[in-house]
């Protein structure tokens, strides 16, 4: 369990970082050209790179073995995350956007996620350490952020029929 002091420090740091990250997001907003990425754009400019880094680590052992198939499956998962997010109510989309703004803000990435390099250059081990620490965090806010990543990424992957053969699921029956 974290001490009261770490709780307060993290709470303050989180609050300040969120505010700064929100300002950063405002400055950083650029239009997205690729229409397949449009739903993801709701999550802010930093979201695609963060998700692209997190997806292969969260889905380690689940994505296909071969490099080419793996890359393609991860890319499809990224697009499907965007689709899934588009079905959430505006308030939930805004909360996710805040999370990605926070993770995309360098100081917060280093202090709260403890990931040193930019997301696109972070190693799988660094990302795994980030996921594990938020999953086991003493702060419900960080655990809920882990849970959100878990839910959108797993829903995006296991909704994809490409994932089914590895888990022995034949798909829905043919009715006629």
């Amino acid at each position: 369990m974290p001490s009261r002091r770490t709780f307060i420090v993290a709470g303050l740091a989180g609050g300040v970082a969120l505010t700064l990250a929100t300002l950063w997001r405002g400055r950083d907003a650029t239009p997205v050209a690729d229409p397949a990425q449009e739903p993801l754009a709701r999550l802010g400019a930093a979201a695609p790179a963060i998700l692209a880094a997190v997806i292969p680590v969260m889905l380690d052992g689940a994505l296909p073995q071969s490099e080419a198939a793996r890359r393609e499956a991860a890319a499809e998962t990224l697009v499907n995350v965007g689709r899934a997010v588009a079905g959430l109510p505006p308030a939930a989309q805004d909360e996710l956007a805040e999370l990605f703004a926070l993770l995309g803000f360098g100081p917060a990435r280093m202090l709260l996620a403890r990931v040193g390099p930019p997301w696109s250059q972070a190693s799988p081990a660094e990302i795994e350490a980030f996921l594990a620490s938020w999953r086991q965090s003493g702060f419900t806010l960080l655990r809920s952020a882990y849970d959100a990543l878990h839910q959108i990424i797993y829903a995006a992957w296991y909704g994809n029929p490409r994932s089914w053969s590895a888990i022995g699921y034949a798909g829905p029956p043919k009715l006629v």
């Binding site: 499907n80 588009a86 079905g87 959430l88 308030a91 849970d147």
Partner: protein, 539 residues
């Protein structure tokens, strides 16, 4: 519209649309709309659907308002990735305020009945006796309600399910027998069910007797109007009456209100938007609430889950999803004693399975690889009967949408801990190789004694121990005393003469069983009385 209907399976709703039913997709409106009618019903689920047929059969003009889309068997492709965004509130990811409970709730024509797992239980006698003794509710005893349950059971083909249970449910029966506790067979609202197991994604064969294929078509056949993709914003009041309901047509994305508005004037208004939607609508409308009761005592059945790896194939995604239950841990505890729970088995499809299994990476992937061998139990915790068991409360977010705050108290966690232990014991007794009580990092155990010891030491807490729920009740309870209830025992608002609540928000506590049949039976009775009143009263 959507894909062509599958050859050979009749789609009675599309046939009705082709035959001239009055159905308006509000997201396609090019200008504002105003309608006048006898009765406006907000919501098309178990409450709204049942009320619609009864009021329309009485010769009243009815307008139904639904925030979700009209989808029919021809659209139901048995894929989670289609069904959750299209048919569920918040894409099946609705959460309580602190995100600790994930709520599965319908949002489509037919509401929860279009996506539920068909389990049909009459309201338990224990619950009804509690309402009489502690909430002053006279005339709602088992014998009083029996004729209403008989009527709706006949209407919706609710009957014993005589096909053998799938392996997932059979394991619950076998495990219960092995440890010496009773289990029973669940009755289902189906007619000619194909036993395929996709009830939660919309029944593709129209076997499930949901509101979508029974009462709503009957009401439409009688001339009712159905307005889809329209969000009820608020009731406008004049004196002690509601004069109109203002609605926003949803934007084409289905998640945001669009620019068009719909105004509905009527003699009577029925709120049947479910136990989160109804309190939210009443709060937005600022209806008189001198005792600040609206949205308070909103109940879930908080659910905890246990996953077992069985020696052989289970295929919990195949076959009727829920056919066996055990009430042993409800029946052996007084309602105001330690929290009791009902045991059932859920269907496990890839997305539902993956988001339920804890942790990630290799550990998660290995459990998913065993999906066909996973047997899963759930425990529905009975809330609302103990002083430390006051459920949650609905409030409004800045944009007017509802937020359910649901504190998980030590009392609830004590019930969760006992439930996790009961489920593990049953699963080992049914032959499980390993059992993972869903908690923390997802440790699994190979022996009951080992699991028992571990569960006793679990640090159960929000977002460490996943909690889900598919049942929402209360928040606008009925009762004789305006200081303790929002509506009177007829369902009429204590302060607004023509405003009625006819859905699960009426219940003073959680039900302690899957609530659809409780809603059907009680709403059938209240709607029948309302129809008689409205037929007598001049416009």
């Amino acid at each position: 519209m959507a894909a062509p209907a599958a050859a050979g399976i009749p789609d009675p709703v599309r046939a009705g649309l082709a035959g001239g039913w009055k159905v308006v997709d509000a997201s396609r409106l090019e200008r504002d709309l105003a309608l006048e009618t006898d009765v406006v019903i907000v919501g098309t689920g178990a409450g709204g659907g049942m009320a619609a047929e009864i009021l329309a059969n009485a010769g009243l003009a009815v307008v139904l308002v639904e925030e979700g889309p009209l989808q029919t068997s021809s659209d139901f492709r048995m894929r989670e990735s289609d069904a959750y965004p299209a048919l569920y509130q918040e894409s099946a990811a609705r959460k309580t305020r602190d995100k600790a409970i994930n709520i599965l709730q319908g949002r489509c024509v037919g509401g929860g009945t279009t996506v539920n797992w068909t389990s049909s239980f009459r309201t338990p006698g224990t619950t009804l006796r509690w309402w009489a003794a502690k909430h002053g509710l006279a005339g709602f005893g088992t014998a009083d309600l029996a004729p209403w349950f008989e009527q709706v059971e006949a209407r919706l083909s609710i009957a014993p399910w005589t096909v053998p249970p799938n392996a997932n449910n059979a394991a619950l029966a076998a495990g219960a027998r092995a440890i010496g506790i009773p289990s029973g067979a669940i009755r289902r609202n189906v007619l000619g069910c194909w036993n395929i197991g996709y009830c939660g994604m919309g029944c593709p064969t129209n076997a499930k007797q949901s509101m979508l294929v029974t009462t709503i078509p009957a009401a439409l056949q009688r001339g009712a109007t159905l307005l889809t993709r329209a969000r009820a914003l608020q009731f406008e009041q004049e004196g002690d009456r509601v004069a109109a309901l203002r609605c926003a047509a949803m934007a084409p994305d289905g998640v945001r209100p669009g620019p068009r508005r719909v105004t509905l004037r009527a003699r009577a208004f029925v709120s049947a938007a479910g136990a989160i939607g109804t309190p939210a609508l009443l709060l937005r409308s600022r209806v008189p609430d001198p005792h600040r009761l609206i949205g308070k005592r909103t109940f879930l059945h908080p659910v905890v889950v246990s996953v077992a790896l069985m020696p052989g194939k289970v295929e919990a995604y195949s076959g009727a999803p829920q056919t066996i239950y055990s009430d042993h841990f409800l029946d052996t505890l007084p309602p105001d004693g330690p929290m009791g729970y009902k045991l059932e088995a859920p269907p496990i499809h890839p997305i539902l399975g993956a988001i339920t299994l804890p942790s990630h990476g290799q550990r998660h992937a290995r459990w998913m690889e065993d999906l066909p061998r996973l047997q899963v139990l759930l425990a529905l915790l009975r809330d609302g009967f103990h002083p430390d068991s006051a459920g949650g409360s609905v409030a409004l977010a800045g944009d007017g949408t509802p937020v359910l705050d649901y504190p998980l108290t030590p009392y609830v966690w004590d019930g969760a801990r006992r439930a996790l232990a009961s489920m593990a014991e049953i699963q080992f007794a049914a032959g499980a190789r390993r059992v993972m009580p869903v908690h923390g990092e997802g440790e699994a155990y190979t022996r009951w004694s080992e699991a028992k010891e571990a569960i006793a030491a679990f640090d159960l807490k929000p977002l460490v121990t996943p909690v889900v729920s598919a049942h929402v009740m209360g928040g606008a309870p009925l009762g004789p005393d305006p200081a303790r209830s929002v509506v009177d025992p007829s369902g009429r608002h204590h302060h607004l003469a023509n405003l009625h609540v006819l859905d699960g928000s009426l219940f003073p506590t959680s039900i302690g069983a899957n609530p659809q049949l409780s809603i059907y039976g009680i709403v059938a009775r209240l709607a029948t009385a309302l129809a008689a009143t409205l037929r007598k009263a001049p416009a």
